[in-house]
């Protein structure tokens, strides 16, 4: 793998994400090998695979936090929602949501004013001044999502956004995310180890192999929304994805 073969293009216009032949290793450990994927503007692409298959590395690459050792990456500005919510414990829910705006240079008052309507949309009215430690897991996740949306990037990279939630909160938050994306479409890369979640939320599911991660299958999910876990189409695709993983 030569560094000269790496090409990372950051277009501000098209919200399309294209990866070709992307490979990366941490020292001796090869995390990703020959990854190719494409997410059309406004599309939700789920990336599933066993733990340690380089899914998080893939998102880091798309977000420009890591330069891959080989391959071509074409992506506009992408913002990462890291595993666990990573809310800052000293900031209130409102200030956590507004963090991206503060970083972008807005004053505290401007940032709060801009973040407030979104928190209200997310059903967090009345919790603006609450600190993360006093919010429930689902609420924290929604605040983190608000922060990610307010970064204003055309591409969102969500790393196991529902991983830490209990089953019921998880289902609610998934439904809420599906609704939010329907209202304001963005190109989304959703990393998860839960195949059902991938099929419920995504337009396409990419199945990765164990480390070093490579693409085992790309499944198109052409099912009407909203979807339920019990829909025959969802069940069939879930089985198909699981077969691809074996």
């Amino acid at each position: 793998m030569e560094a000269t073969s790496v090409k990372v293009a950051r277009s501000q216009m098209a919200a399309e994400v294209v990866l070709e032949g992307v490979a990366h290793a941490y020292g001796e450990v090869r995390a990703l090998a020959d990854i190719g994927l494409r997410a059309a503007p406004g599309e939700v692409v789920a990336i599933v695979g066993p733990s340690g298959c380089g899914k998080s590395t893939l998102l880091d690459i798309v977000c420009g936090l890591i330069t891959p050792q080989a391959g071509r990456v074409e992506a506009p500005r992408a913002v990462l929602m890291p595993q666990r919510d990573q809310l800052l414990p000293w900031l209130t829910a409102l200030d956590n949501a507004a963090l991206a705006l503060r970083v972008a240079g807005a004053s505290k008052a401007q940032a709060r004013a801009a973040a407030h309507p979104l928190l209200k949309d997310l059903g967090l009215e009345g919790f603006e001044r609450t600190r993360p430690a006093e919010l429930s897991g689902g609420m924290r996740q929604r605040v983190a999502f608000a922060r990610t949306l307010l970064a204003g990037a055309p591409v969102l990279c969500l790393d196991e956004p529902f991983g830490a939630l209990d089953a019921l909160t998880r289902a609610d938050t998934q439904a809420w995310l599906a609704g939010a994306l329907e209202r304001t479409p963005r190109t989304v890369l959703l990393v998860t180890h839960d195949v059902e979640e991938a099929v419920l939320l995504a337009d396409a599911v990419i199945v990765l192999s164990p480390r070093p991660g490579r693409v085992l299958a790309t499944l198109a999910v052409e099912l009407p929304r909203p979807r339920a876990a019990t829909d025959p189409g969802v069940v069939a695709l879930r089985a198909q994805a699981l077969r691809a993983m074996r």
Partner: protein, 251 residues
């Protein structure tokens, strides 16, 4: 509350012991005699207290400014870390007891050598935990800031500095605890006024109760400073989960 009971019991036992043992007052004064000195010698104590308190507060202020600046420098520059950190440890193995008189020779009997010694002793407990906290920040927290497009300065301002604040408070509390010792030590090496100086003078004058009274005043001041810091931390950092009173179980 439990701590107060222990103090009361200790003072009572002390009082009882001085009565039963029949020791001379200049060998071991009873708590009542110390209390008497606190009242009788209040003008003398106040005058000397003002000197020691100034040495401690100014010394702590120097240590805080120096400590925070050094911590920032060491955190931001790996070259400074490699070049300066071993020297910082070196400052702490300087035998202060021996150096203090030399500083008096150099700077004279005024407040300057005291400031120097208090700052020298106090900056280290400020730097070490704070720098440690900066280095142990969750890498994902920093990754989050970078993905939001934060500059180096913004990462420091929005994530690193607030993350390290509880450790800075811890370090300052440690510094307060040793500041009194440093100030008294500095006064022993040569001074005209101060509670340490007063204690030293009181013994040959057989005013042992006054020496004890000076110690009580110094302890009360240090405890007040400490409690003030704890209260300030609770107010400024209500999110920090550390219990500043030390290990305790939540009920």
């Amino acid at each position: 509350m439990a701590a107060l009971l222990v103090v009361v019991a200790f003072v009572a036992a002390w009082q009882l012991y001085t009565v039963v043992s029949g020791l001379d007052e200049f060998v071991l004064p009873a708590p009542s005699a110390v209390a008497g000195s606190l009242v009788e010698d209040r003008a003398l104590l106040a005058e000397n207290f003002a000197v020691t308190a100034t040495e401690m507060l100014l010394g702590l202020a120097c240590a805080l400014v120096l400590g925070v600046a050094l911590t920032a420098l060491l955190h931001l520059s790996s070259a400074a870390r490699r070049g300066l950190y071993p020297l910082l440890v070196g400052t702490q193995v300087v035998p202060i007891v021996l150096v203090a008189p030399l500083l008096v020779v150099w700077f004279g009997f005024g407040v300057r050598p005291k400031l120097f010694i208090v700052a020298l002793v106090c900056f280290f407990p400020i730097v070490v935990p704070t720098l440690d906290a900066l280095r142990r920040i969750d890498p994902d927290r920093l990754k989050l800031l970078r993905t939001l497009g934060a500059s180096r300065w913004q990462v420091l301002r929005f994530a690193e500095a607030p993350s390290a604040l509880p450790a800075l408070f811890t370090g300052t509390r440690l510094a307060v605890a040793v500041a009194a010792i440093a100030a008294v030590l500095a006064e022993y090496s040569g001074s005209e006024k101060g509670l340490g100086r007063l204690t030293l003078q009181s013994l040959p004058q057989l005013e042992t109760a006054r020496a004890y009274a000076a110690i009580v005043v110094l302890m009360a001041f240090t405890l007040t400073l400490y409690a003030g810091l704890v209260a300030l931390e609770r107010r400024l950092l209500p999110w920090a989960s550390s219990s500043p009173k030390g290990p305790q179980t939540r009920s």
